[in-house]
Symmetry: C2
Subunit: 323 residues, 2 copies
């Protein structure tokens, strides 16, 4: 049997047919066009599934389940409670999808499914426990314990980006101050770089942004740091320090086998990883004991589709075992 | 069969005979006298076990395992890697104990066993997942997931007190700044109270300490707050705010069914609990969704003995299943 994974984003819908080992056989895409009625979006999701199945020369009878990763929160009945990017509140996603394709549907948070994907066929596939951090516009997270995704008892866990790291620090949209994502997201790098450019007016970052601080993005900073620009190096070092503190918090609390770095900033690769690995031990409580491996995610954009398919598979297995 | 639990502290040794449901049948005590050679301490631990068994009219043949809770860290072979209060480093505790009583021995951190005890026969016994926080001189923690204690992949997890809450905050002995325990331990209450007494020289706290700020302890502060003393109320409210932030961090990361408050400060009872319960929602990311119950521990001093016995039982069951 094969498993459908749907990665539902604010911009794109991706549907993939995935085998039991987490390998993608075929994919299909559509624009989300998020301002449409949800029924139209779900119809296009179903259309992508049919197209991907067709591409793989499969029919509905070859498919066991549908898993959907969303940038939001769904309850256990398959209703999307909220999904800010799509403007969705209390949308019966499972029920609507089953009007088109009558298969078991599982829905989970996009970071959770991506982290789970890494534990199935990515960098953490040999780790029994892992914490996945997406370093993007915000910071998301996923926890895998004993090979299973853990979203918490009420499904509101693994929101690592909103753990308070600096209680008197930078205000966050969530209403708190000093959330980890205010220091470890791509947005944080940009904020720090713009501040640095006030002091370092000759920074390569500013030159590459044609003198306009508002045109600096995370890649500008990382590229300038790689080129040895002093301001950019200082910003990136500071960023890595904050990320190291955050990883310390994860280790000190949960001590997983592996901490996996994903999301846009992780594309800095070893330039990021080496700095972070160097900085983490300084913060650890037990400086002489073994601790989590720190690694880069490796599934990239496919993690969402694979992970969604695999949570569908897992939910199916759980329901069979429970019946 | 019955299970031996030993609570090894810097001051006292307690050994108890515990049944399979987590009920203590009998106990025996000795002074630790921590400056002695470890062999002498272990001999007294074994002596307490024999005495407790005798009190319960049991023999060694009725006992299945020995569990030991220590204020430190042990490896999986039963060696105490370090245990600061006892001045122990690399002590072969399991091996030494088995010279006296040849039963399977399991060793774990005292906070971990206490939290596990609460999940077996205490306040969190119906919770599948829980995080236990000991609010004492320092702050310890325990994580229980799917009914099992989780100390992490390397046994260095659940050190909740050393999660960074305020990265530019109060320096901690561990080398970091702004560890949670610097804001949520009994020691933190005392520090905050002494600071407050500089401003509020007429505080009831200071009067009860006979004018000597060094004589203020956590109970002085809590009693004065209960009596309505303005400085004490401000200090205790601030303390509860920090604790609420810390509980938010736990929920946002792990989202357990229950967060359990134990340790000395938890003896403030509902006076603590009601304030904390009131303050937590303000920090949560998802303000309209269900979240962890917050409760007071209920096993008190017996948690260490019960939990130690139960980790011995668990290790025994795991070894039988694994064989």
């Amino acid at each position: 049997m094969y498993y459908v994974g749907i990665d539902l984003g604010g911009t794109n819908i991706k549907a993939g047919i995935v085998d039991g080992t987490g390998k993608i056989l075929s994919q299909a895409y559509a624009k989300t066009l998020a301002s449409r009625p949800y029924q139209d979006i779900v119809r296009d999701m179903a259309g992508c599934v049919m197209q991907a199945a067709n591409n793989a020369k499969l029919t509905i009878d070859d498919l066991a389940s549908i898993g959907i990763g969303i940038p939001g929160y769904a309850d256990r009945d398959g209703n999307v409670v909220f999904c800010t990017n799509l403007g969705w509140h209390n949308i019966p996603l499972k029920e609507e999808m089953q009007k088109y394709i009558n298969l078991p549907v599982a829905i989970d948070n996009d970071a959770t499914v991506a982290g789970y994907a890494e534990s199935i066929s990515g960098v953490s596939k040999d780790a029994k426990s892992s914490v996945f951090i997406t370093l993007g516009t915000g910071v998301g997270g996923a926890i895998v314990i004993n090979g299973r995704p853990w979203s918490g008892a009420h499904g509101i866990g693994s929101e690592i980006g909103h753990m308070i790291l600096n209680m008197n620090g930078v205000p966050c949209n969530c209403g708190n101050n000093g959330c980890m994502e205010k220091y470890t997201s791509a947005t944080a790098i940009i904020r720090m770089a713009r501040q640095a450019c006030v002091t370092y007016q000759d920074s390569l970052m500013l030159r590459r942004a044609e003198g306009d601080p508002d045109r600096i993005n995370a890649k500008t900073v990382i590229d300038a740091a790689k080129a040895g620009d002093r301001a950019a190096v200082e910003v990136f070092d500071e960023y890595c320090k904050f990320l190291a503190m955050s990883i310390h918090n994860i280790i000190t609390f949960l001590d997983p086998d592996m901490v996996v770095l994903g999301g846009g900033v992780s594309h800095a690769g070893d330039f990021l990883l080496n700095r972070v690995r160097e900085k983490v031990p300084r913060y650890l409580l037990y400086k002489t004991l073994p601790y989590s491996q720190i690694c880069l995610a490796k599934l990239g954009n496919e993690a969402g589709t694979i992970g969604a398919a695999m949570i569908g598979k897992l939910a199916l297995e759980d329901s069979v075992m429970g019946s």
